[in-house]
Amino acid sequence: MTSLQFDIAHLLAGGMLVLSLLLLYQDRILATLNVFALQAIVLSLAVAWQAYVQGAMHLMVTAVIALVVKGFVIPGALNRIVYRLGIHREIEQVIGAGPTMLTGLGLIALSILLVMPVKVGVTALAREDLAFALAVILLGLLMMITRRNAVTQIVGFMSLENGLILAATGAKGMPLVVEISVAFSILIAFSVFGIFVFRIRERFDTVDLGALDRFRRERSTLQ
């Protein structure tokens, strides 16, 4: 492929990585949602670009799904949940923003360290994408565990999954990518649904008396 195509793909992937760092940095839920929507849009662009480059038009489906579902529908839904459940807007982070960012950088370094030595046969594009995707995945996971709030955790999970889609589309001619991306969207829909129906916050951590008694009774009944 030409270097231009390569550079654009590289740019988009890098953009996603930057955006997940930004996600990690956010301390307000709504902003988090917006950044996530942005990341989803960049993802759809990246996928579309891959579809164009690889001439695999079926990947467009994935791109569209990413755009519609994760770019607009889910952030909207989450917005409503935030209002409905009256989750306070500030995110309690487990560890401060600074350490989180440092850890994030460390993870990026680790992922590059892991992927770079790979030589045999794998195209440079795939390798770059892979490094970024791995970084995005790890950052998403990091976000899941540094946030105390179910909504933000779901956001983390979704950005993780963005990384997956990125990697999958980066893999040239991989079968079933579309189907799997669809499956993932359904999965996420489930999770959002779950939060919504079961009113799930992080049970044991929220300072909420009802939750506390529940917690005690759980100890007695479960254990």
């Binding site: 992927v115 794998v122 795939a126 799997i180 779950g194 079961f198």
Partner: protein
């Protein structure tokens, strides 16, 4: 081509769709049993048809007996579930509405597991495992108690993360295979991977395995990825606990082993064995200790499942003909014995109206048959002769002590710790002054004792074909 393999998938799928519309409990249960029986029949038919190998499906020594095992346990569990769920309906813990889901999901799960087992494609395998997981998530939450929902949610979140990581591993596998094999399905086919494994990029292969290990390890329930397992077992309906322990964990382990085979073909990949050994030992010792403070009887046996998964992982990590043989045998025995225990426990919980161990005493006085069933089950699961697990643990411990004395000592310590806990709880439940209601049991003991008989038989005499399969697979596992 209308090979039995297709039926393995079609029958449960059809049953799923059909059961989705049947609200009546008896018909639903009957249909469930029939469908499972038919699946079992097809699975057995596999033995007599020639081995299939396409880009999508494959039948070889490894999965053929797992398919049969899965179908068999699925069948017996469906019988058990018929009586069990009947009782739950009478008590009112379940409503027919949810029951419709229950049966449909049961078949869906069977279909997914069969898919995972017979697929020749790492992607399909992944899909199968995930669908099975999701369907069990729904079933775990079926009681709608806060604890159940809690458990289901925990299971769901951890499971999804596992899904994601496993998927990334799968992508990596494709990436590593694609340059060598070429694009498309073949690059994801087991046999192709096995054949060309030696030419893959070792680094990327190892990276892939790490993600697959974490991803599928979550499904296997290895510590520290085990968190969902005890809750899911304890809060879900007992048939599901049985199937989870007996089958789903196996399927996940099966997937992991397939990938280990691929790695085994490459000389200078990461030392996977050591990682698996350490994970196995951690799970074994950890769950061994966790067994002591258990107050809920189903949770107790959930932890014992973690323990046994740890033993198997240790065995496969140890490698070598004997240890691998032991691991495979242990796998089989565990999915025979653990469901049997859950059958017994389910009935016990129903007759005593509680799962609290402290409220169940002197069972051998009030319900002798159940007591004998539970006793035999625990004796078998604790690795005492003449049951099959003794055979596998015998081979595992003795062979690994000659090779890795220290690791074997840790293994033995773990086994002993777990044994102590299991025996303690079993004596509490079975003996002493009886407590709780002494009412009769409305249950079919057939599944329970069929399982136990098979485990007993395996302990004394393994049929020739099984030995052949095991040895072949053991050789492949390296």
């Amino acid at each position: 081509m209308m090979s039995p393999v297709l039926f393995l998938l079609l029958i449960p799928v059809a049953a799923t769709l059909l059961l989705g519309f049947i609200a009546h409990y008896r018909i639903g249960a009957l249909l469930n049993v029939l469908a499972s029986g038919a699946t079992l029949a097809t699975a057995i038919a596999l033995l007599f048809t020639e081995r299939v190998r396409t880009d999508v499906f494959i039948i070889d020594d490894f999965n053929i007996y797992l398919v049969i095992l899965t179908a068999f346990v699925g069948f017996t569990t469906s019988i058990f579930s018929a009586t069990y769920i009947g009782h739950e309906l009478e008590v009112g813990k379940l409503t027919p509405v949810f029951l419709r889901f229950y049966h449909a999901l049961y078949q869906a799960m069977m279909a997914a597991m069969n898919l995972a087992l017979v697929s020749n494609n790492v992607g399909l395998l992944w899909v199968g495992v995930e669908v099975a997981t999701l369907s069990t998530v729904m079933m775990v939450g079926v009681y709608r108690t806060p604890e159940a929902i809690e458990a289901a949610w925990k299971y769901f979140i951890l499971g999804s993360v596992g899904i994601a990581l496993a998927f990334f591993g799968t992508i990596l596998i494709y990436l590593v295979a694609q340059p060598v094999i070429g694009e498309g399905l073949p690059a994801m086919a087991w046999d192709m991977l096995l054949r060309n494994g030696a030419r893959f990029d070792a680094k990327l292969l190892s990276l892939a395995f790490v993600f697959l290990l974490v991803g599928y390890g979550t499904k296997i329930g290895l510590a520290p990825f085990h968190a969902w397992l005890p809750d899911a077992h304890a809060e879900g309906p007992t048939p599901i606990s049985a199937v989870l322990s007996g089958l789903l964990l196996n399927v996940a382990l099966y997937a992991l082993l397939r990938f280990k085979m691929v790695l085994a073909t490459h000389p200078d990949t990461l030392n996977v064995g050591m990682i698996m050994i350490s994970l196995g030992l951690i799970s074994l010792v950890f769950s061994g200790f966790m067994l002591y403070r258990r107050r809920d009887i189903k949770r107790l046996f959930a932890y014992s499942s973690i323990e046994h998964m740890g033993i198997m992982t240790f065995a496969f990590g140890m490698g070598g003909p004997l240890a691998n043989f032991a691991g495979l045998l242990h796998m089989t025995m565990h999915s025979l014995v653990k469901p049997a225990i859950f059958f017994a426990v389910g009935h016990i919980a129903q007759v005593k109206g509680t799962q609290r161990i402290s409220q169940i005493r002197g069972l051998s006085v009030t319900h002798p048959v159940l007591a004998v069933g539970l006793a035999l089950g625990v004796i078998a699961i604790a690795g005492l002769p003449p049951f099959g697990m003794f055979l596998s643990e015998f081979m595992l411990v003795s062979s690994s002590f000659a090779r890795q004395p220290l690791l074997a000592l840790i293994l033995v310590a773990g086994l002993l710790i777990a044994f102590g806990a299991l025996m303690l709880r079993m004596q509490d439940v079975l003996f002493g002054e009886p407590s709780g209601p002494a009412g009769g049991v409305k249950a079919s003991y057939i599944p329970l004792f069929v399982h136990l008989t098979l485990a007993l038989m395996a302990g004394l005499w393994l049929p020739e074909p099984m030995v052949r399969w095991f040895r072949a697979v053991a050789a492949q596992l390296g």
